[in-house]
């Protein structure tokens, strides 16, 4: 009882303290650099699609002055100037936009040249399921939208909980193989996509020991004999050596992921709940009749 009380007081204190961000604000970003923001950023460039979505979900879409080539949601973001992709970033274009801050991923080595050009760079890079929430909160702090970030986190968690309530009651949870790349790469249970797969009511055949996004030996998949295959179309799967005997192919439970859902699933951002919903509908259509 005392513990719960302490928790309540503590969270009350925290939310009370987190009213508005005070600038200058110094944070440690995902590249381990200490970055100081002098004032609330008014001109933002985002080079990570999930970050673009989060910024917009925090109600700051109109402060975005540029995004990377792959940021395509929400609609408003598609009309913004494009500043390249992870492999071919257009640093000149970023600098020319005179941003107060460029939000980058920890990959792509943009921090150094941009910093040298006098641009403030912050790497915010959600990778695990939990980081989706902590990084959303961090972005809220950086952009002086802490209350909105809390609300957004609450909304995403709510969306997820609604799906989870349904899938928890699923009678049969199929063993599943989820392919993210035909080489083939799959997802481990600890990756954020793996967490979604479990929450959607499937049992991942990939053990945690294989890592978050492992390259899989095809014979491992045949041996594991999954009841459901996601991310491959039935024709491709059937043509692979030895796959026609896999349980999922015998029962016709091979589902390619529709392009839009695939995009959502690949982005650790505000549409996580919707992504989970789409995945759950593929795995347990009977629950959504």
């Amino acid at each position: 009882m005392k513990g719960i009380l302490t928790l309540i007081t503590l969270s009350a204190a925290l939310s009370g303290a987190a009213g508005a961000t005070t600038y200058p604000l110094t944070i440690t970003d995902d590249l381990g650099r200490k970055v100081t923001l002098k004032a609330e950023p008014k001109r933002i460039v985002s080079v990570l699609p999930s970050t673009t979505e989060t910024v917009c979900a925090l109600g700051l879409c109109d402060r975005l002055v540029g995004v990377d080539d792959y940021s395509d949601f929400p609609q408003q973001a598609t009309k913004l100037p494009k500043v390249g992709g992870l492999y071919n970033p257009n640093i000149e274009a970023m600098v020319a936009l005179k941003p107060d801050v460029v939000l980058v991923s920890q990959y792509g080595k943009l921090a150094e040249p941009l910093t040298q050009a006098g641009v403030t760079v912050i790497a915010v890079n959600p990778e695990t399921y939990d980081e989706v929430f902590t990084k959303t909160a961090l972005l809220g702090k950086i952009l002086n939208r802490e209350a909105q970030a809390r609300a957004l986190v609450g909304k995403i968690k709510g969306d997820i909980a609604r799906v989870e309530i349904l899938t928890k009651n699923a009678v049969r949870k199929p063993t599943a193989y989820f392919e993210i790349d035909p080489t083939p790469y799959s997802i481990g249970p600890n990756s954020f996509m793996g967490v979604l797969l479990t929450k959607a009511g499937a049992r991942n055949i990939i053990p945690a020991s294989m890592g978050d996004f492992p390259k899989v030996d095809p014979e491992f998949i045949v041996k594991a004999n999954p009841q459901l295959i996601l991310g491959v179309d039935a024709k491709t799967a059937g043509a692979r050596p030895g796959w026609s005997g896999i349980s999922a192919l015998k029962t016709g439970k091979v589902r390619d992921i529709p392009a839009e859902l695939n995009t959502m699933l690949g982005r650790p951002g505000p549409r996580l709940g919707q992504a989970l919903m789409g995945l759950a509908k593929l795995i347990h259509p009977e629950l959504f009749k």
Partner: protein, 334 residues
């Protein structure tokens, strides 16, 4: 002056036996080991049930439909690249020559990349790879041509240029099709995953035809080692020999590269190992290279499957690089 005497004492007959045993051992190990360990008895049982067309049970599917074609593909590709390497080194009398010399690999890689990025069906990937490989060879040959002759230096330089240009085109395509980048990358690093019997049967005629022709040319290649003038005076049509060898080797290499991608160093190193042990005569060099190359690639793929190195091309390059450097140092000391 002794020209054709073996440099080492190891008998060719014994060597053939040893290498054949090595290849067999690699095939047996490669079929039994992997992410699932299958005891030899079960492997044999699976093979028997497959041959006698009985119903496959338990791990039979893994043995018969996944590992065996993969192992056979590895042996085929390894043998093919090594025979081509040996032949190229002989044709151009250049120890650094290898199957990728004439831009064949970069040509194949470009064709495969086009097919992969465009999302064409798997069946079209090797076709596309083959066509671009042949175009690449044609470009190299026409660049290197001097009248009716193909001087070795010009040929090698032309091959390097064509290879570089094609690689740049491939890289540009990879960047455009980022979502398939990993698939293309896997291809350019060499990968035997998802090799099935159908792939083996598709590749077999190219490799068989190409390597068969090269084996028939072995005696002429031996004569060529005496020098172009001597060979000519002994009645060897040097330019025609070169052209036929290049076409045969390109056919075999393009076939090998088509499905499994660019597997580095095998074709460069295997012939050297054989030459060190059994001497430079092509009538022993080429067939023994086939045996060792097959065994080496099957072994490398086994390592790739069971360790985090994950792709056979990575393994061959990691093993081949240091060996190559050692070779360079050794040549200098000799």
């Amino acid at each position: 002056m002794q020209v054709a005497a073996p440099r080492r004492g190891l008998g060719v007959g014994l060597g053939t036996l040893l290498l054949a045993a090595l290849l067999l051992a690699a095939v047996v190990l490669g079929t039994g080991l992997g992410s699932v360990t299958i005891p030899p008895g079960e492997v044999l049982g699976a093979l028997w049930r497959g041959v006698t067309r009985q119903a496959l049970e338990g791990n039979d599917v893994i043995v018969w439909q996944i590992r065996l074609p993969r192992v056979v593909m590895g042996a085929l590709v390894g043998a093919s690249l090594s025979v081509c390497g040996g032949a190229f080194q002989g044709v151009f009398r250049n120890p650094l020559a290898d199957p990728y010399l004439l831009g064949v690999a970069s040509g194949s890689a470009l064709g495969a990349t086009v097919a992969i990025v465009a999302g064409w069906p798997r069946a079209l990937i090797p076709v596309s790879a083959l066509l671009t490989a042949l175009v690449a060879v044609a470009c190299t040959l026409s660049l290197a041509r001097e009248g009716r002759r193909f001087p070795p230096t010009r040929l090698i330089l032309a091959g390097v240029v064509v290879g570089s240009v094609l690689s740049a085109a491939t890289t540009a395509l990879i960047l455009r099709g980022e979502d398939r980048a990993r698939q293309v990358l896997a291809y350019t690093l060499g990968d035997l995953g998802f090799s099935g019997w159908r792939d083996v049967l598709t590749v077999l005629p190219y490799v068989g035809l190409g390597c068969g022709a090269l084996l028939l040319l072995a005696r002429a290649l031996d004569t060529l080692q005496l020098g172009e003038l001597t060979a000519r005076s002994l009645g060897v049509p040097v330019e025609r020999l070169r052209l036929i060898a290049v076409i045969a080797a390109s056919l075999a290499t393009a076939g090998a590269v088509a499905y499994v991608g660019v597997i580095g160093f095998v074709g460069l190193i295997v012939p050297h190992m054989i030459r060190l042990a059994f001497g430079p005569g092509h009538r022993t060099l080429l067939p023994l290279s086939a045996l060792l190359g097959g065994a080496l690639l099957v072994g490398a793929d086994l390592l790739a499957r069971t360790t985090p190195l994950s792709q056979v091309g990575i393994v061959t390059t990691l093993l081949g690089g240091p060996f190559f450097l050692w070779l360079l140092r050794k040549e200098r000391h000799d």
